[in-house]
Symmetry: C2
Amino acid sequence: MYRLGVDLGGTNIAVGLVDENMTLVAKKSTPTGAERTGELIVDDIAMLCKAVCEENGVSLSNVACIGIATPGIANTATGVVEYANNLPFKKFPIAELLKARVGVANIKIANDANAAAWGEAVAGAAKGSSNNVMITLGTGVGGGIIIDNKIYAGFNCAGGELGHIVIEVDGVPCSCGRRGCWEAYSSATALIRMTQEKIDECRANGRDTIMFNAEKVSGRTACDAMRAGDAAAKEVYDKYVKYLASGITNIINIFQPEVISLGGGVSNEGQSLIDSILPIVRKEQYGGGIVAMTDIRIAKLGNDAGIIGAAMLG
Amino acid sequence: MYRLGVDLGGTNIAVGLVDENMTLVAKKSTPTGAERTGELIVDDIAMLCKAVCEENGVSLSNVACIGIATPGIANTATGVVEYANNLPFKKFPIAELLKARVGVANIKIANDANAAAWGEAVAGAAKGSSNNVMITLGTGVGGGIIIDNKIYAGFNCAGGELGHIVIEVDGVPCSCGRRGCWEAYSSATALIRMTQEKIDECRANGRDTIMFNAEKVSGRTACDAMRAGDAAAKEVYDKYVKYLASGITNIINIFQPEVISLGGGVSNEGQSLIDSILPIVRKEQYGGGIVAMTDIRIAKLGNDAGIIGAAMLG
């Protein structure tokens, strides 16, 4: 039997065919067209489900279940997306609508960050642990919490918003309406902002930095320049690392998970990012040196975490 | 059958007899004598267990289980206290030692904040919900997390340290070694500090406040003066409420628990404290107005939460 995983984003819909070894054997995608109605979006999800099966010689009757990773608040019990801010979903019965189009009975949904965490938990960096947390350092800071081998999302399915923990009261405005959220300091977006601020500061003060050469400031600009020995870039990186370590220490003090996996664009920095935050985390965390310590790892599944996690929901 | 709950603190040991209705029918206590060896402390726990039974005509053979709420990191699987900073415990097999002294086979242990949360979950303010969080606003800020009707303490039993979430990077020093922990802003100790700072500021600026009349500044000083119309006290209260609301919003964004119960000295302010924080929390929390909202309540069991929760561990 196979499984299908749907990663529904604001920009693209990706559908993957996952085999019994939890391996993604094929995937297809199409633009979301988020300005359209929800029904048209589900039409395209169904089309991709059928196409990826057909192209790989798999009959839909050999698909055990379909999982959908969706933005917003996914009611996992009812298969209804309560709300998503970047898609036209409000109490939208996505599972039921997809079922009517593809005829597969077992359709589960989850929030996209939670599905990605589930993917890393069952088939990625946190495989083998039953309590783990995934942090996605991308446009925002996403969180997914796995407790006792299950996604934890609170009594109303809206929990796990780990990017929206205030770590600086009255701090930088966040997209959620609060000020000082972890997301406003540790997302790729925040790293780009800090980099741009430093470039502007250098320019204003007549201080040289190789970051002036960046055609377009990205999350890599400061990291690359820092590795090339640039002092201003090192200041950006150190500031970013300080806030990231503080937020991760918070997550440890709350959950003491066996594993924290770091995903998203910034995690492409790899082990050197972990090596940068670890001394701070170990010094600041509760129980340091007394109990077994949380292992911090780079996520393994990359952009496929959501697809694989979704497929493994059923 | 009866149960015994032991609340072991740095100052006192209290042992309570709990009946089948989860009602505390009797309790006895004695000073902890924390400067003594662990064995002598367990001798006194055993003595209190026997005495409270004897005085109430209950035979130890009618005691189904004993639970111990202990400071520090309690290994719930082994009954060993890994470490406590205010008691002479380091890998201390407290359950085994107590069993040898009282002959009751079923002895469980938990961290004291977790035991109190469990008490409120099964017999107090959060009764009836299976996902809830207790926050204790006392000398520190304690946390206890209940998920799926079980205490959640992480893979190493050291989790749930909700007071040690940094909410202000580089903020006020905390007893745990970090700076800016929630505890440093929302504990009774923090409220007293803020009150004293305001009194000093008024004195330095020649500003009048009825808080000058306080013989000894307590957690109630600013609250009482604020209710009497004192403007400086209102500033202290508003600042305290702002940080408390921010921390509670963090807890909601993380857990979306069905209930948050507030215990500890500051919670004696009662419903008016909740009425003060609620507008801020509802405005700032994730999912506001879309999904079912966390109910914030004052804890019900007061100082007995730890005893009752401990008794109900087995």
